[in-house]
Symmetry: C2
Subunit: 224 residues, 2 copies
Amino acid sequence: VAAREVLGFLGGTGPLGRGLALRLAVAGHPVVLGSRDAERARAAATSLRATATGAGAAAAVEAEGEENRAAAARADVLFVCVPADGLRYALEQVAPAVRDDTLVISAVNALAFDGEARAVPVEGVSSAQLCARLLPQARVTAAFHTVSAPKLEDLDAQLEGDVAVCGNADDRSRVIALADAIPRLRGVHAGSLTQAGTLEALTALIIAVNRHYKRSVGMRFTNL
Amino acid sequence: VAAREVLGFLGGTGPLGRGLALRLAVAGHPVVLGSRDAERARAAATSLRATATGAGAAAAVEAEGEENRAAAARADVLFVCVPADGLRYALEQVAPAVRDDTLVISAVNALAFDGEARAVPVEGVSSAQLCARLLPQARVTAAFHTVSAPKLEDLDAQLEGDVAVCGNADDRSRVIALADAIPRLRGVHAGSLTQAGTLEALTALIIAVNRHYKRSVGMRFTNL
């Protein structure tokens, strides 16, 4: 992903969208936060610029806010960070605006909580596969499910862990370059989009680990 | 798990069963390798003792071979390491012999290979949940799916990685004590048995990573 490519974020005003956008804006990428509410999106972009500047990031941090569909239209790379229960609605709304061959990165975790977190496929498939179904013109990948949103949003927090990426090999390489642009994260090739459901389910497993140990754990491949 | 508890292995003559039995025998646990063929089981036990002795393990390594059902009858802790396509048959065969409250550890990965490895639920549930269904008198857990069988079998190989354990909390603690008895492995509480399918699917993801990087990777939780 060239540095001047625009990164759009559906659900860019939620914790994960804000966090990923902040880290990647600080790494030099222009970002466009999307929201159902354009005013909220603009406020989040203003806040992002203030956070980046306050942390001493280069003055060149570029962040704007737009209504989701306008953000999607501008995106060369589109992160999908909406809650799972709003996923179909958001995708249907933006689909006509998504350009051919846009790289889509689904970070959506479809989880239910019944005593503990549990992965629940959306319409029988993973969230990423639903993205592929509703955005057939795009190149859909799955990544960033297990990264801590609060740590992404705190530029002083030490991230750690691997970003497993599912999709076609060429698309995965572009996502991995983005993951590697965030300090202490590492992108890893992890198979085709049919494996995306495993990444989403892994989040539920990590929540179970967190709950037991009262920690915020990540995941890393060893011997790699 | 007290050191004198007997560890039985269904499918104890396959690579994972042999590897786990070897490591846990060296750690001081009496093991009984099970097989459909009692002669093969006894030969595997003889081989295990030779390997352990050759590697300088204490003379007290106790390993025997039995037909699966006899191994199950002797087990205080029963590892299930059979191939997924023989799982129902093996469980039905041994079920009458499994004692009440036996701790069962399912390491079965139900995978299909169509271009890449993919997790395929057995009869609609995880292999571990099928164990629970067919062995209602037992305490069923899921663990050891992602540990490398060749490395377990090679006492000189450096293992690394976490053993995520699903099941009831008390049962998980007993499994974790077994994982921790193997050098450089670490058992981790990872939720209830309903999460076991995620552990099984994770193996397919790891196979995809291995194939891409031509490595044998493991998995570890960070910040834990």
